[in-house]
């Protein structure tokens, strides 16, 4: 009933090859010296792989509309959560996370909740 848009065996395998090639690429890039661009590049490759899988394997290509909308919305909200939290942490006036200007003390009362680790 949706043959026109269904992927053939060649298509499925082709996308699979692409995914494996991108995996190899991200691994090889890791062997190069690490720089500031290493994480963004790796995440970009992961995103490309994710889009490939969502489009071809998770049937987004055949059923536009709802799925695309929902996926976009969730990606947007993940981005909001991640960006805002990191931005706020990085712009603090004085570091509130150790190692900060204060000595770190163990929290009192831990023994009341569970046994100490070995």
């Amino acid at each position: 009933m949706r043959d026109a848009k269904s992927l053939g065996v060649v298509g499925v395998l082709g996308v699979g090859m692409g995914l494996l090639a991108l995996t190899a690429l991200t691994f090889l890039l890791h062997r190069l010296p690490h720089g500031a661009w290493s994480l963004p590049t790796a995440l970009l490759i992961a995103s490309v792989k994710g889009v490939l899988i969502a489009t071809f394997y998770m049937h987004l290509r055949e059923r536009r509309g709802g799925g695309v909308l929902i996926l976009t919305a969730s990606v947007v909200f993940v981005a909001v959560l991640l960006t805002v939290c990191i931005l706020e942490t990085r712009t603090r006036f004085a570091p509130s996370i150790p190692p900060g200007p204060f000595p770190v003390q163990p929290l009192p009362g831990l023994e009341a909740t569970r046994a100490a680790p070995p």
């Binding site: 065996v9 995914l19 994480l39 998770m58 059923r63 929902i70 990191i86 770190v104």
Partner: protein, 209 residues
């Protein structure tokens, strides 16, 4: 399932399949947001402890991680092939491919267990149990906590996915699906692909860069 009432409920089988897909996408979005909390924790602490993070990453087993990535991607391809085969009217082949994919899922879990054992020997355990002599800095135990949380939650999803794939494989082998009626297969496949995609993001941030 009361078929006569659902047919009236939805109007047609195609509309029902459409609804099932929409519901699955909503479920997937909740899964994405579930992991988002952990990714955010990772991002915040990475931005606070960049050096410690790099040193801690050196203790990851990149080989096993990469092999596991290839294993998961391959199983995803197999699931996609299984859906294709079923659509072409060969549900038996589809069932076999699903079984293979489930086996690869088990392989993934076994390799993950080997990896965990390695970390445990080294002392790279989460939170209070952290005993890694080579890296006694604040923040390093956070990396390992997050490593276990991310991979552990993912492993729970892999385990569930293996269960789903196995059930689908058995149903396919028993002739439960046909070219026109295979929505559960598509949905189960989508779940497995989701598990794969999440790993594709976990892999670079923990092992590579």
């Amino acid at each position: 399932m009361p078929h006569e009432s659902t047919a009236e409920h939805w109007g047609s089988e195609a509309a029902r399949a459409h609804a099932a897909h929409l519901g699955m996408w909503l479920f997937i979005s909740t899964e994405v947001l579930l992991f988002a909390a952990l990714f955010t924790t990772y991002g915040v602490y990475r931005s606070v402890y960049p050096e410690v993070w790099r040193e801690a990453q050196a203790h990851m087993d990149v080989t096993l991680g990469t092999v596991n990535t290839v294993v998961l991607v391959t199983s995803s391809v197999l699931v996609a092939l299984a859906v294709h085969a079923t659509r072409e009217g060969r549900p038996g082949t589809g069932g076999a491919l699903l079984g293979l994919a489930a086996l690869l899922g088990v392989t993934f879990l076994v390799l993950k267990g080997v990896e965990y054992a390695g970390h445990a020997r080294e002392g790279g355990l989460p939170g209070e149990w952290y005993r890694l002599e080579a890296l006694p800095k604040p923040g390093a135990s956070l990396f390992f906590s997050l490593y276990y949380l991310l991979t552990g939650l993912h492993a729970v999803h892999v385990t569930l996915g293996v269960g789903v794939l196995t059930v689908l494989a058995v149903r396919a082998a028993a002739g439960g699906f046909s070219a026109s009626d295979h929505t559960p297969l598509e949905l189960g496949g989508m779940y497995w692909h989701l598990v794969d995609v999440i790993w594709l993001f976990v892999y670079p941030i923990l092992y590579l860069s």
